[in-house]
């Protein structure tokens, strides 16, 4: 599923502290690659790798302005990730309701100890 793949790319991109720091920097406004690189003791190619991952996940865009390459944050994948989380929360809330009901059923069994296992096929 394309949307699932995109979410996986977003979560994978967010799983790295350097990349989150880059996003935090860009969340304050667009910046040049050099400005983004500044706080990190990292080589240009290493930073460039991180930027590629963020770009592939759709979390940032690059734009050439005059001689500068400007980076900007893209909110949409973050929104999508948040929407996914909200949906999971709702679903798990309902599942835990079902769990509460099922526990009541388990309690009514004559032997709700380990014997229950052996009755299973």
């Amino acid at each position: 599923m394309a949307q699932e793949d995109r979410l996986t790319a977003v979560f994978a991109a967010l799983a790295d502290p350097t990349r989150r720091a880059i996003l935090a920097r860009l969340s304050q406004g667009p910046a040049r690659v050099g400005e983004v690189r500044e706080p990190f003791a990292m080589s240009a190619p290493a930073i460039s790798q991180h930027l590629k991952v963020l770009e592939r996940a759709g979390l940032i865009t690059r734009e050439v302005q005059a001689q500068w390459r400007t980076l900007s944050i893209e909110p949409e994948p973050l929104d999508e990730a948040s929407a996914w989380i909200a949906k999971q929360r709702e679903e798990w809330d309902l599942r835990l309701d079902a769990l509460a009901d099922h526990l009541e059923v388990m309690k009514t069994r004559p032997e709700h100890s380990n014997e229950a296992k052996e009755q299973e096929p």
């Binding site: 699932e4 979410l7 996986t8 979560f11 994978a12 967010l14 799983a15 790295d16 502290p17 989150r20 720091a21 996003l23 935090a24 969340s27 304050q28 406004g29 944050i73 909110p75 949409e76 973050l78 929104d79 990730a81 948040s82 929407a83 996914w84 989380i85 909200a86 999971q88 929360r89 679903e91 798990w92 809330d93 309902l94 599942r95 835990l96 079902a98 769990l99 509460a100 009901d101 099922h102 526990l103 009541e104 059923v105 388990m106 309690k107 709700h112 229950a116 296992k117 299973e120």
Partner: protein
């Protein structure tokens, strides 16, 4: 675009009127799981759980109306019977490192059991501490940024 952007994780705390042993079994035994894991309109038609560290589980949910199938699965990362269960949760074909992670904590609460259910959108790396710190900060700044650019 929503202004209420939330970090990709959440916690649900529930108290169940059942012993820890029972709640643990409801989470770890296939026959029990098949009874309650289904969400509404979706039936669990296959459940396989190998509850040990590194063990995998799968189950398939099916939407009765559309016939669409949702294979779900993952790997157990931590198994402390009746205490803590940590596992990845997602598409069984996805790599474990990028899969969402669910952490269950079981504690006694009077006669019952308090379950802390925590889900986060991706696995953290060891030594990363609270992996969401950076994310939280990014989102907070981002919201501020959005608000200020809107009011311009």
């Amino acid at each position: 675009m929503s202004t209420e952007t939330k970090p990709p994780e959440f916690t649900i705390i529930r108290t169940f009127n059942a012993t820890r042993d029972l709640v643990w079994r409801a989470w770890t035994q296939e026959a029990e799981l098949a009874q309650w894991l289904r969400p509404f309109g979706v039936t669990t038609d296959s459940v396989s759980f190998d509850v040990r560290v590194g063990g995998v589980y799968t189950y398939t949910m099916m939407n009765a109306e559309t016939g669409e199938k949702f294979p779900t699965g993952g790997q157990f990362l931590e198994v402390n019977p009746m205490d803590r269960l940590v596992f990845t949760w997602g598409n069984p074909e996805d790599p474990v490192e990028t899969a969402p992670v669910i952490t269950l904590t079981f504690t006694d609460k009077g006669e019952g059991t308090e379950l802390t259910f925590h889900l986060r959108g991706y696995d953290g790396k060891p030594g990363d501490g609270f992996v969401y710190d950076g994310w939280d900060e990014a989102l907070t700044n981002f919201e501020r940024h959005l608000l200020s650019s809107r009011s311009e």
